[in-house]
Symmetry: C2
Subunit: 480 residues, 2 copies
């Protein structure tokens, strides 16, 4: 259960995030907070300290707590009003997935066929943001020490070292993981796929976020599952009211797949109270909860927005993660903590893909064993914060009036909605012709809900070619 | 269709393999062959030339063709008679696979928990048989040239180079593969698993060899399929009569999975006439044919015992292979040619495991691009031929009278049957206690048919500790 001070901190975090409390404004005094919310002074103190650790406020000696970050969640070009990407009156309907996979594949494949000048579609950062050289040097050193490694069968030992390193790094996400329970996978896609294989049978219904990472839609179709898309907002993430409604009225739901931290594509993170409610809801209805924490390490203070798994006492959460986005796009190292399905998933994994290559695991284990990983993430997150702001400003400056763009506090992805229902599939084609790749909104849902949206990555420095690409995109969008 | 001279050559190959024509014996003259089999002289010439290329006979100037290899298919300790592992009166029954996966996993896991002195269970050769150092050096060179590779997303180019190298090497298997149709997988297990996912739905029935590679049983259970085990013999492989019977009488069979070349565990290869019959049978009944060619490169003349895929004109064969056994146990590089299911498999693969790590593919591509791979296989196969003979002799010398052992002409696996129904699960336990690991026959079937069998690997030089382990196994088997 979330403690009282956490709920209180969230109340203010939300006020700050939505712009109700602006940059430089003072929080109410501790005494006022205590009276206002009927809590003790010590609870008020704890809440303010948490807000401070989370980077929302700073304490000024004797003067109280002041807001230091007041980025609204969504900005709209040419208008002051803050929108919330209103998603009211959406239909909720479990649907067979037929063809969505192909539609996504075709879209993605078309994007790779032409020579690309600027790629704003891939959720990947510029090479200079990753410690590629350090990883390469680790690999050279390890290979020199083991000249015959490719002539020998992978040892379990390598895996153990990586598991231990992952367990250590999990602490910085505010969770504890026993190395014995960690299964190393071929990226997060394999982890999610194994998780769904373990808890569903073809024809089963799975609840997913809407919009969601398109890879989830592909896995769902691959496994012959049906999906219910649950409205998901850029402030609080997946709507638990809608999820509960679906659970009560739409027939058996076998699993929920979600990204509670830095959701792809919205960049939102669920409030802590929502996380505990989510856990309880799924436990109560015996629904497996599959958590994709791919972007968790991108949080400014990863330990203060913990994954669902940190609250999971009954083993009902399957936790999936990967280092593909955070540490190295070139390595395919992911992992999974399977809770009560651990043994089943381990067997499925062994049957489907058997051993992992050993050296890549050791390279990563070496890097994650010390403080290099957290230093790397700190540096990367600081750069991404700048680039996010710059990309938001560029979009607001060049896109047509009425365009909405998310302003998430973490990650490398922005979600943009064009005004007047302008179709981003057409924009995708026109951009391709100019050598610019974007992700059209249509591939983030099977319900034609986001055909006026697009996802852009701020992984590359927003200058030169990238800046000019945004200008071009803005022009193309205005011409639609 | 197989040509006449091929059928004729096979007739004599079989006679040689079974020992009917002994080493040094002369084949009938070309004229006698022509009269005897009612063929033209030129057909007789072609047949003899094929036998020569296949390494069965050698031509002596003006004297005719003489047998150079007369290893019987199966030898029995303490008896002259050649057995054929008689499998008559077997039941054929499509069965749900429940628990076989766990049984196999538990067996394999138990084998890894103790410190092992001699591993005769793994289908893997001694490190000195693999070009580990050359692969490592390739990797060092490639990494030096691309210091930032781990900071960048995998390029399609790397995959293309490997596909082209695989296509080139496929020629030495007597088949032609278009690089565009090759999908690079995470070993052969992923390839087989994707193939089965593409052509079946849970509950479907699949025909498999019996005994079969236990990994197939695990995949079948993972995917919720049923299996019919088709008797398979150490001379001609899977029984097509039994398969046809099953097709006609056992209800819809969705796919056949088989290893036509150097079967695991029997080491047998199907005659060419059987291959064409198999292709026709499956085409006629619209049954997908999934071919596992993992050990194909272990054939003494790989081009003269071609894979089923070489005959496949209608895209009904899904071809799976890997370099795990032949080139490097440490790398996980496999591939698949999907025939008419290519697009579906490509989509499934992308959904389940997305991109492959790039450098490992390039390392392999470099090695396979020139003649290094075929030179390596030639050397390895020559060593394995010695080691197979030595292991057979050691088994016949130390195991109880009546023990039968296969004498395959390729690969690293021997299949042993103990006399008097002695149980090899018990032998497995007793051997483990002595630090020796073997594969008990029980994991090669779900029908309790092979509980008196075991699989041994001759991948390590048969001397010193290995020789003494065989002596120990023989003693333990006698004591059962």
């Amino acid at each position: 259960m979330a403690k009282k001070y956490r709920a209180l901190a969230e109340h203010y975090a939300k006020a700050i995030a939505s712009g109700s409390l602006g940059k430089g404004e003072r929080l109410p005094s501790l005494r006022d907070i205590a009276v206002l919310h009927r809590v003790s002074i010590s609870t008020a103190v704890e809440a303010c300290r948490l807000l401070e650790r989370q980077g929302y406020v700073e304490a000024k000696s004797r003067a109280g707590y002041f807001v230091i970050d007041a980025m609204p969640l969504v900005k709209r070009a040419g208008a002051a009003a803050v929108s919330d990407f209103d998603n009211a009156n959406e239909r909720i309907d479990p649907a067979d997935y037929v063809g969505v996979h192909e539609r996504i594949s075709v879209t993605l494949a078309r994007g790779t066929r032409r020579p690309m000048k600027v790629d704003l579609a891939g959720a990947v950062c510029a090479p200079e943001l990753y410690p590629g050289a350090a990883l390469r040097d680790n690999m050279l050193r390890l290979l020199r020490a083991r000249p015959r490694v490719y002539g020998t069968h992978p040892q379990r030992e390598g895996v153990t070292k990586l598991r231990e390193a992952i367990a250590r790094c999990s602490v910085s996400r505010g969770m504890h993981a026993d190395p014995e329970t960690i299964l190393v996978t071929h990226g997060c896609s394999e982890a999610l796929s194994l998780a769904l294989m373990a808890v569903t049978s073809p024809g089963d219904v799975v609840a997913i976020e809407s919009p969601t990472y398109f890879g989830i839609l592909q896995i769902i179709e691959s496994l012959g599952l049906k999906a219910i898309e649950i409205p998901t907002r850029p402030d609080t993430g997946i709507s638990l009211d809608a999820l509960e409604f679906a659970i009560n009225h739409m027939g058996r739901i076998q699993a929920v797949v979600c990204m509670p931290s830095v959701q792809n594509p919205l960049g939102c993170s669920m409030p802590e109270t929502a996380k505990t409610r989510m856990i309880e809801l799924c436990e109560k209805h015996n629904i497996a909860l599959i958590e994709d924490d791919t972007y968790g390490f991108f949080l400014p203070n990863p330990a203060y927005s913990r994954p669902l798994k940190a609250w999971d006492k009954k083993g009902n959460v399957i936790y999936c993660n990967s280092l593909n986005k955070s540490l190295s796009p070139g390595l395919r190292v992911g992992w999974l903590i399977g809770g009560k399905w651990h043994k089943k998933i381990e067997m499925l994994m062994y049957a489907v893909s058997r051993h992992r290559e050993e050296m890549l695991q050791l390279v990563v284990a070496d890097f994650m064993a010390g403080s290099a990983f957290s230093r790397h993430m700190k540096r990367m997150n600081a750069l991404l914060k700048q680039q996010r702001t710059q990309l938001v400003e560029a979009i607001l400056g060049h896109f047509p009036a009425g365009t909405e763009v998310t302003c998430p506090d973490a990650g490398l992805l922005l979600w943009v909605r064009l005004p007047d229902g302008k179709n981003t599939d057409i924009l995708f084609d026109k951009a391709l012709a100019e050598g610019i790749r974007i992700c059209p909104g249509s591939i983030f849902s099977n319900m034609d809900k986001f055909n006026d949206c697009l996802r852009l990555s701020c992984g590359m420095p927003i200058k030169g070619r990238v800046e000019s690409a945004i200008r071009t995109l803005g022009r193309l969008a205005r011409e639609l």
